[in-house]
């Protein structure tokens, strides 16, 4: 098992953002985390990557307890991630952004950038890129960082249809390569086409775990999304 989440709970004052959440992420699979707005998806991402501490529960990465470890320690143990609102180092070049993930050759950097369809000179400043291109740079940076689990938070949010298609191809390639990915996404076509397993969250709880076909037919899931 790549990641094991057991009875994780996080309250913000009186709000139960994550409520006794438990599920596992299998190796070499793409797992999608879906749910309506406010379901606790991004909070759970932040918990896994150590940006938010938890009140109860345990999180294990390849059987190693990472509960409430500092974010940089969790990252160095093999979790790489992107954010819902792109976080690139705007005042730095593409190359410097990439080198912060891993000190490596220009050749490897170019190879990764090519794999995410970002064809820009390495000395281009991140602030000069469009939002979609910044998104691709962030994904490339996360891919370059040595990792065993890649977490992508709404990669298609705010990008144009062309980049959306490219992102779909990137995910399919990652699937072919046998990478382990945890993905938050609202675009259901995208989720259905790339995911092996879907975890549905609602009001901080796990509502359903299954493959895309099982999830899409589930009444509780439909109710959570569309209402009764």
């Amino acid at each position: 098992m790549m990641l094991s989440i057991k009875s994780v709970a996080k309250n913000f004052g009186g709000v139960k953002a994550v409520n006794k959440c438990s599920f596992d992420i299998e190796e070499n699979k793409i797992t999608a985390l879906i749910g309506p707005n406010g379901a606790g998806k991004t909070t759970l991402f932040n918990i896994i990557s150590g940006l938010i501490g938890i009140d109860k529960g345990t999180i294990k990465l390849q059987n190693e307890n990472i509960t409430n470890l500092q974010p940089h320690k969790i990252a160095n143990l093999g979790i790489s991630r992107t954010f819902q609102l792109t976080k690139v180092f705007r005042n730095m070049s593409i190359k410097d952004n990439m080198l912060l993930a891993k000190h490596t050759s220009e050749e490897e950097i170019k190879k990764i950038l090519d794999s995410v369809y970002l064809h820009k000179p390495l000395d281009t400043f991140a602030s000069e890129l469009s939002y979609g291109q910044q998104r691709l740079l962030e994904i490339a940076r996360a891919l370059l960082m040595p990792h065993s689990l890649l977490m992508l938070d709404e990669p298609t949010a705010g990008v144009n249809p062309k980049i959306r298609q490219e992102l779909k191809l990137i995910l399919k390639n990652l699937k072919k390569e046998g990478k382990t990915v945890l993905l938050i996404e609202h675009d259901m076509d995208f989720v259905m086409s790339v995911s092996d397993t879907i975890v549905v969250l609602n009001q901080g709880r796990v509502l359903k775990i299954g493959n895309p076909k099982q999830v899409v037919k589930d009444k509780k899931v439909l109710e959570a999304y569309l209402g009764k």
């Binding site: 940006l51 500092q70 979790i79 730095m92 080198l99 912060l100």
Partner: protein, 269 residues
């Protein structure tokens, strides 16, 4: 002295994004440390090194509780340190002679020209060290902390450590600058913690621009040259001070309007 002060402030503020308005406190600590030691017979070079170390120690003390805060909050906390130092120096009369100050601080060179050459060499050493640091892998991490601390954390960087490191190095340099000042002026008193000097140094930083070492150097030179200009061209002594202040204000305003990042700045203020 001002070049060292602005370069060091740029390390923490421009390259790491730590709005440290208490830089003057470390400069003052350096000045007092060096003055007290040399007045008690310690050779100036040991005193100067000690000035840097003591200032860096205070920088470390400030960095520990404040490494989790950024922006305006750090600005307020660090500015508070200036007032604390001012109060300590004024009231610890057995050590600092309070408001009477410390006269007779030994000069470190026999002539002003030699002192200028020495200061220039010291500024060049500080510049070179800062250049090497910001161009290094560690310097890039400092800049990543400035641009987006959360993103730096999830890339496996211990951002707290880098914030502490940046403050300690920059306050060490400020301490050295303070020592240089004390041995140049040969008399210091608590007025060295006056906000006037802070405003001058911040003006230099704004004019030169954040995250640029060349900006720090040129900012210091331009502002210093402009501050000396009224002394040369104005005949009425009473007008020199006010006109100098107006010149600062005008220069900063012009730069902020026409070059918001400063003359050489690489990031927004």
């Amino acid at each position: 002295m001002y070049i060292i002060l602005v370069v060091s402030l740029n390390l923490s503020m421009g390259f790491t994004g730590l709005i440290n308005l208490g830089h003057l406190a470390f400069w003052g600590v350096g000045a007092y440390t060096s003055a007290l030691l040399t007045l008690n017979g310690v050779p100036w070079y040991f005193a100067m090194l000690a000035a840097g170390i003591v200032a860096a120690f205070f920088g470390f003390i400030l960095a520990l509780p404040t490494s989790k805060i950024k922006g305006d909050y750090l600005a307020i906390v660090s500015l508070g340190l200036v007032f604390i130092m001012d109060s300590v120096v004024r009231n610890w009369t057995s050590l600092t002679r309070g408001a009477l100050g410390l006269p007779g601080i030994p000069r470190i060179t026999s002539s002003s020209i030699n002192f200028l050459v020495f200061s220039f060499i010291l500024a060049a050493v500080v510049y070179f060290f800062a250049y090497k640091l910001v161009s290094s892998k560690h310097g890039k991490i400092m800049q990543a902390v400035r641009d987006d601390e959360t993103a730096a954390k999830v890339l496996g960087k211990n951002t707290q450590l880098y914030k502490i490191m940046s403050l300690v190095i920059s306050t060490f340099m400020a301490g050295i600058a303070g020592s240089l000042f004390a041995h140049y002026i040969t008399f210091i008193d608590p007025t060295i913690f006056s906000p006037d000097i802070l405003i001058i140094v911040l003006s230099m930083l704004i004019v030169g621009g954040l995250a640029s070492l060349n900006g720090a150097v040129f900012g210091a030179i331009i502002v210093l040259a402009l501050s000396e200009l009224p002394r040369i061209i104005i005949v009425v002594p009473a007008l020199i001070g006010p006109i100098r202040d107006m010149t600062f204000a005008l220069l900063v305003l012009i730069v902020l309007i026409y070059k918001p990042r400063g003359l050489f700045g690489k990031v927004d203020l």
